[in-house]
Point group: C3
Chain length 259, copies 3
Amino acid sequence: MSTSADPVESEPGFEAIITADRLEPALEAVSTIVDECKIRLSEDCLTIRAVDPANVGMCRVSVDADAFESFRAQTGVIGVNLGRLEDVVGMADGGELVHLALDPDTQKLEIAVGELSYTLALIDPDSIRQEPDLPDLELPARVVCEGRVISQAVSAADLCSDHISLGCDEDAAVFYAEATGDTDDVRIDLGRDDVIELEPGAAHSLFSLDYLDDMETAIDSGAEVALNIGEEFPVRMAFERADSHVSVVFMLAPRIASE
Amino acid sequence: MSTSADPVESEPGFEAIITADRLEPALEAVSTIVDECKIRLSEDCLTIRAVDPANVGMCRVSVDADAFESFRAQTGVIGVNLGRLEDVVGMADGGELVHLALDPDTQKLEIAVGELSYTLALIDPDSIRQEPDLPDLELPARVVCEGRVISQAVSAADLCSDHISLGCDEDAAVFYAEATGDTDDVRIDLGRDDVIELEPGAAHSLFSLDYLDDMETAIDSGAEVALNIGEEFPVRMAFERADSHVSVVFMLAPRIASE
Amino acid sequence: MSTSADPVESEPGFEAIITADRLEPALEAVSTIVDECKIRLSEDCLTIRAVDPANVGMCRVSVDADAFESFRAQTGVIGVNLGRLEDVVGMADGGELVHLALDPDTQKLEIAVGELSYTLALIDPDSIRQEPDLPDLELPARVVCEGRVISQAVSAADLCSDHISLGCDEDAAVFYAEATGDTDDVRIDLGRDDVIELEPGAAHSLFSLDYLDDMETAIDSGAEVALNIGEEFPVRMAFERADSHVSVVFMLAPRIASE
C-alpha cells in the first residue's frame, strides 16, 4: 500500500459484495491493457484507469456501487495483480457472490467465494504506472454499432495486415474500416442503415491491430459500442458490459500512416 | 494471372454468389492436399484438381453451377492461396452469402461477405504445380460405406502404425482395413451387412496414414463414401459434401509393402 | 507375460465384455499415477494397484464382475501400457460394448469394439513396478464431501502455492484445506453443514499439489469422496465412479512441512 501522505492516495476502508459475472467483465477489460493496475475507490463507485507501457492504449473501467450487493468504501487506491485477482474471482460461478474486504491490519484483500477465502497481497500503488487522464477530445465523427461489427472488422483486417484504418466518408455518410496488406486489401463500409447511429465527420486514422485484437476480446458481440474518430486522432470506444453495470472506455492512439 | 496465349488458360470473367457452407467444404477438401491451387472455371462448374508435392495424394473437387445462387464464368483458370481464401470465406456465417468477382482490371478476386469486401491477390497459375489427371483405373473391388467407418479405421490404425492396408477377402465377401505395428495390430472386417454396398474383388494395398489422416478430415461422418481398391493399386474415394453440392474424389497411391 | 512359477502370477484365462463408460473411468484413475500397470484378475473382479516412481502417490482401482456384461477370469496378472489401452477403449462410444479376451497362444489381449479388433501386446508383469500394499492406517479424522469440493480446494491452492494442507480443527468441528504462497494464502473451512459427513480428529498434513492436480481429474464432481487424514500422515481418498461400478482409493504421502 502507498504510504503517501496524499489523502486521496491514503489506504481505504473497503468492503463489498458483488456477483462474479459483474466483477469479471470489468477486470477482463482492464487486463487487455495491463497486468497490474490501481483500483480507485470512492463512496459511489470503483474505477480503474490504465495505460500500456508504450502509452498507446488506455482504458477507464468503472463499476457503480449499484452493481454491488453491498458496497462500502472510503476514498482511496489499492494496487492489484490483475491476473491473480481474475483467477480468484474466476473460482466463483457466474452468479455466485464474491466478498471483498480490505484487511486494515495486513493491508491485504480478503476475497471470499462460498467457503473459500483467499488473501491477496496488494501491490504498492506507487510502484504501478501512473493512471492516465483519458483526454476529452472533440472527435468529429461518431458511429454507434454492435460489438460484432468491431470484431468482424478486426478479424478481417488481421487476415492481411498489422494495421487498420478507421474513417468516415462524410459525403456518402459512410463509416469505414480498411486494411491494406502487401497483396490483399479489405474494407467494410457501413451506412446509416448498417449501424445504430452515425454522425459523419472528417475522420481517417490508422491503428495497430495488436492493440485492437486485445481490446476486441472485451467487447461483447451484442454490446452497443460508440466509436469517436478523427483525422490522425485517437479512437475512443465506449460501451457497457454485464447488463450496463460495467462501463468501459478504450482509447487508442493512432499510428502515423507510412504512406 | 497467366499471360499464356493458351485460350484455356486465359483470364476468366467470373462472378458468382454462394453460401459459405457450400464453398467452405470444397476448399477444405483441397486444402488437405495442397496450400495453393488452380481453380478451373467453366460455364457450368468450378473444378479444382491438385496433387501433393510427392505425387502421392490427389483430389478433384467440383462445385456445380447449381450450388451457386448465381454463377457466371468464362472458361479459364485462377490461382489462389487456399488458406487465405478459406479464412476470408470463414468470415461468413454458414448460410451467409459470399460474393466472388474477378476484377478484370486488377486481376484480383473481390470477395464480399455482408458489408465486408476483401480483395484477394491471385497467384500466377503457371507458378502452381501442374494439375493432375486422376487416372481412370478399373479397380476390382468396391465398397460404399459411411464416412464414420473411414474415420474409425484411420484412427484405429493410427494407434499402432504409420500405415494401413485396405483390402478385400473375396471368398468371405469382406472388406477389411488392417494395420500392423511393432507390437500391436488392428483390423476391421466389414461384410455386406456392415456397409451400404460391397462388390468383392482381389484387392490388398498399403497406404500411408499421413495422407489418410488429412483426407479423412474432409469426409463427413454421415457421407456415403465409395472406395475402389485393387492389388497394390491406388485407392479411390469418392463422396459428396454440402448436401451433394460438392463432389470430391481423393486418390492415394499405395506404398510398397516392406514385408 | 510372466513366466514365473508362482501360481498367482500365472497367465490367466480371461474373457469379458463391458461398456466403455465403465472401463474408461477405471483406467483413467490409474493413469493419473502410472503409465504401465499390472491388472490383477480373479473370479469376481479386476483390480489394479499402482504407485508412482517416487513412492508418493498410490491407487487401488477395482471393477467388480457385476459391472461386466460377462466376465470369466482365472486368477492371474497381465501387464498393460495404460495409455494404449485407454486409446483403444476410447474408440468405443460411451455405452458401446468392449470385448476383452486374452489369447492363450500369443498372450496378447484381443480387444473388439464393433467391427474393430485390436491386438494389444502385453507387458511382462515382472518388468512393471511392484504393486503397492495400500497401508491400512487408522486415521483420526474423516470427512465425506462432494468431488467438486476437492476440485475447488486444489484449484484454489494452485493459484498461490505448490502445496496444500488438509487438516481438521477438532474444537470447531471444521475440516480445512489451506495453502500458503509467497504472498497470498487461501483457506477453505467446511463445517458439518458443508459436507456429507464429518468425524473430527487431530489432523494436519501437507501435500504436493502436483499429485493432487492429477488425482483430482479422476474424481467426478458429484462423487461422494471419503477423505481420511491425520497428523503428518498420508491422505486416503475413496470414491466410486461409473454408477458405483468402479471403486477407487487414492493414497498420497505427506510432505514434511518446511515451516
